[in-house]
């Protein structure tokens, strides 16, 4: 004898069957409307965890990326300032050599001295360069006040030796500038302002007697030597900035590459395959219709219909 089927059970099975199909359909529909494969962590815990750790990696990469951009901008500022300082020193050299020429009278040398004074002032202006936030870039951490002021022949430095760094990769940070002391007071035996002052003094010094000429010549040579050292120091610094900028560019390339990889992987984990989902939707629709139809047919069968 075959298994008895109760009418209530037949009804229940039919309804349960339809509900199951409707459930699956609703899941697919929610995937399609959100475009997301994973509805919650329970959809696939391990994939969810991978996606979440990729999210964190991406956020970190974005931090590095924005740091790299900030660094490029800051180092660009510094490079600009150093280029200006370098030009000033070149002009100072030119003028000094001019003043040293035998044909120059005291009046002409005084004019040169005046121009040199202007250049010394310009150089101080560069040493007190401000960034977009109105902070002095050559002041170390004491960047709210102008770090340099004339003091005697040279300049006093009120900044400190702090160098700010920013991270551009795990375990890789780059300085976003250099301290004023390292830039303007570290070449040769004196600061660069004192060197220019020496040349001003030289231009103003009487230059008539042979003894005066000899003394002046010694002063000129010492100062010019210091000037050349300062000039070399500036180009060394610019070289260092250039190599930092290169490193940043390399890091940016690597960041972009890693970012793309992470995003592709994330896409695979999270994004819905619409072609697959829509064909699944169609299949589930068919199954639901079949369930509904069979329910209708089965429920329509009753012996009572024939007992008339």
């Amino acid at each position: 004898m075959s298994l008895r089927i109760s009418t209530a059970m037949l009804h229940r099975q039919g309804v349960e069957n339809m509900q199951r199909q409707q459930n699956l359909l609703a899941q697919t529909q929610s995937q399609i409307s959100s475009g997301q494969r994973l509805r919650t962590a329970a959809s696939s815990p391990s994939e969810w965890a991978s996606a979440a750790s990729l999210d964190r990696a991406l956020a970190q990469l974005d931090n590095y990326r924005s740091n790299a951009a900030t660094l490029s901008e800051r180092l660009g500022y510094e490079d600009n300032a150093l280029a200006g300082a370098s030009e000033i020193l070149a002009r100072v050299r030119e003028l000094a050599i001019q003043a040293n020429g035998g044909a120059q009278g005291a009046a002409a040398r005084a004019i040169i001295a005046t121009e040199l004074q202007g250049l010394r002032q310009d150089l101080l202006g560069i040493a007190n360069t401000q960034d977009a936030e109105s902070r002095y870039i050559f002041a170390g951490s004491l960047s709210a006040q102008p770090p340099f002021s004339f003091s005697g022949p040279g300049a006093a430095y009120d900044g400190d030796d702090t160098v700010r760094e920013l991270d551009i990769a795990a375990q890789r940070s780059i300085a976003d500038g250099d301290s004023g002391r390292a830039v303007f007071q570290s070449a040769g035996t004196q600061d660069v302002f004192a060197t220019v002052q020496q040349l001003i003094d030289f231009s103003l010094a009487p230059n008539v007697t042979p003894a005066e000429r000899t003394a002046n010549q010694a002063l000129f040579e010492t100062a010019l030597g210091e000037l050349d050292l300062a000039q070399t120091h500036f180009s060394d610094l610019r070289g260092s900035i250039g190599s930092r900028l290169n490193a940043i560019e390399d890091a940016q390339l690597a960041l972009a590459g890693n970012r793309q990889l992470a995003q592709e992987h994330l896409g695979e984990l999270r994004d819905l395959d619409y072609a697959e989902a829509t064909s699944r939707l169609a299949l589930q629709q068919t199954l639901l219709q079949a369930a509904q139809l069979s329910y209708q047919r089965v429920q329509g069968l009753s012996l009572f219909d024939y007992l008339r």
């Binding site: 008895r4 109760s6 059970m9 099975q13 962590a41 815990p45 940070s173 009753s302």
Partner: protein, 542 residues
């Protein structure tokens, strides 16, 4: 001839009864718990002949019923567990509720200050993100507390329903026992009782024992009688022994919680123990780890006004409570503080005094933890990342529940009020200075986002949250699979029971036809007897 009349009459009566039973079956085709009834026909003994509807049987199987009770309990447990787990999974996975985004944004904002340490705008962003983060933590804590509250409500309601059903079972037992022996079995009462037992087994696992007088005894998990003959014993609910916010199920005033299993109550209790309580503690541990690591780094720095860094977040406070039964609780003070967030686990602790010394054990794990220190304020007990100070005289057997991080999720609050207070600069060797452009401390703060500050330095805050979501997701996924499997088994058992006990309307229609024809035939017998009697009368008429 009188025999013919008698036989016809007996057939009319029997088929009339058969038709009634068929009608009863048809009428109850959709009544939950109704068991199909059958008329047993029997030839009337003795020389007179005829038919007798000897009894009306019920197509019920004791074995299938017992299996159904077990399957009900298993299915209901998993169904309730699954729906709660799915809700928690949904909450934690929701990007608008979860912590993943806000944690990343907080550390990105700190990186922004590292890049631009003197920018008040960048500093303001950090404060705003920290507030958002605290609000998210509190939001999840609220959700967990709401679940905890709902769970207590559901426990109360299930217990009330069980008590009501148990009372009804006891009453039915009484009526069933009173049914006259030898008479018709009280089928409909038996159906009602079976249905009630099913309803109870949907709420808690039970076992049944049928007595010779027809009454049914119901026993809970470990042998406590819920119904004994005509007597029902009520379950109750009471705050847990530490007044920790959860409800215990009681029986005769004694806690029964750990002995109950199965049914919606089993699902609620399992969910609370396996998912909800750990979720509280894991969330709280994240808050404690974040607060402690950020504060520790922040206080090493210097703010924009040259002052040393203050606490960035308000400190997290651990909670604890004494067992209600403690003898010395009035005079004993227990202070707990989080000593090292990296060493925090996710279990709560039970601190016990055995008369001579204190011991500490994990509440869920039961594992003993060695206590370092002496418990005084100067030298507190330390274990599992917390420091415990004990004062006053404890009595032997006193117990305390220590919950390092249970409430911490709701406590992550920004302590700074001014963006200038963010200590972005390292404290310079030359001494504090206002308006520093240094970023060393902000960099260190931003780096905390990727630093292992939990699990003994293994897990970052972001990874810790992912671990929580993934763990809940895995449990929810497992619950879904188990529930579906239990549903299939339950449906199978229900099908088997229905195969015997369910009403099939086609079958009843056929029976209706059959009994109708038989009834008509019996009526014909009466008519024939009448005709015969008339013939006899006519034959003797003059």
């Amino acid at each position: 001839m009188s025999d013919l009349l008698g036989i016809g009459n007996s057939a009319l009566l029997a088929y009339r009864q058969a038709l009634d039973v068929t009608a009863h079956n048809i009428a109850n085709a959709n009544t939950p718990g109704y068991v199909r009834q059958r008329v047993e026909l029997q030839a009337r003994p003795g020389s007179a002949g005829g038919v007798l509807a000897s009894t009306i049987t019920r197509s019920s199987s004791e074995i299938l019923n017992t299996r159904l009770h077990a399957d009900n309990a298993a299915y209901s447990r998993l169904d309730r567990f699954n729906s709660l787990a799915a809700r928690l999974d949904g909450i934690l996975s929701d990007p608008d509720i979860g912590l993943s985004g806000p944690v990343q944004e907080f550390f990105t904002a700190l990186n922004g200050v590292a890049a631009n340490p003197t920018s008040l705008a960048a500093r303001q962003v950090v404060l705003a993100r920290a507030e958002t983060l605290g609000a998210r933590f509190a939001g999840i804590q609220d959700q967990l507390e709401a679940q905890s509250f709902d769970l207590n409500q559901q426990l109360r309601q299930s217990v009330a329903e069980i008590n009501q059903y148990a009372t009804s079972v006891a009453q039915l037992n009484q009526r069933i026992a009173l049914a006259p022996s030898g008479g018709q079995p009280p089928n409909d009462l038996l159906d009602q009782r079976d249905q009630l037992v099913n309803d109870i087994s949907n709420r808690v696992g039970l076992s049944t024992v049928r007595q010779s007088d027809g009454t049914l005894n119901l026993y809970l998990g470990s042998g406590q009688a819920l119904v004994l003959g005509t007597q029902a014993h009520a379950l109750g609910t009471a705050p847990d022994r530490y007044n920790g916010g959860g409800l215990d199920i009681t029986y005769g005033g004694v806690t029964l919680t750990s002995q109950l299993s199965g049914g919606s109550i089993g699902g609620l209790l399992d969910y609370r123990r396996e998912m909800l309580e750990p979720a509280f503690n894991q969330l709280g541990r994240l808050a404690a780890g974040l607060s402690e690591s950020v504060n520790a780094q922040h206080t090493q720095g210097m703010d924009l006004d040259g002052a040393s860094g203050a606490h960035f977040f308000a400190p997290i406070t651990a909670t604890g409570s004494a067992a209600a039964a403690n003898a010395g609780s009035a005079s004993v003070g227990i202070a707990i503080a989080i000593a090292d967030a990296a060493q925090l686990g996710t279990d709560d602790f039970i601190l016990s005094f055995n008369g001579a010394s204190w011991t500490l054990a994990g509440q869920r794990s039961g594992q003993m933890l060695p206590l370092a220190g002496s418990g005084t304020a100067a030298d507190p007990f330390t274990a599992g990342g917390i420091a415990i100070t004990v004062s006053g005289a404890a009595s032997t057997g006193d117990q305390f529940l220590l919950r390092p991080t249970h409430a911490a999720g709701g406590q992550l609050q920004l302590a700074l009020t001014d963006p200038r207070q963010i200590a972005a600069a390292a404290l310079p060797a030359s001494g504090p200075a206002a308006n520093s452009g240094d970023n060393a401390n902000a960099r260190a703060l931003a780096a905390l986002g990727n630093l292992g500050v939990l699990n003994g330095g293994q897990t970052s805050i972001g990874a810790g949250y992912t671990a929580l979501v993934t763990q809940v997701g895995t449990q929810a996924q497992g619950a879904q699979l188990s529930r579906d499997a239990a549903a299939a088994i339950h449906a199978q058992t229900l099908g088997e029971r229905d195969a015997g006990a369910g009403v099939n309307l086609d079958e009843e229609a056929a029976d209706l036809l059959r009994w109708q024809q038989a009834y008509q035939a019996a009526a014909q017998l009466i008519a024939t007897a009448n005709t015969l009697f008339d013939s006899l009368l006519n034959a003797t008429r003059r």
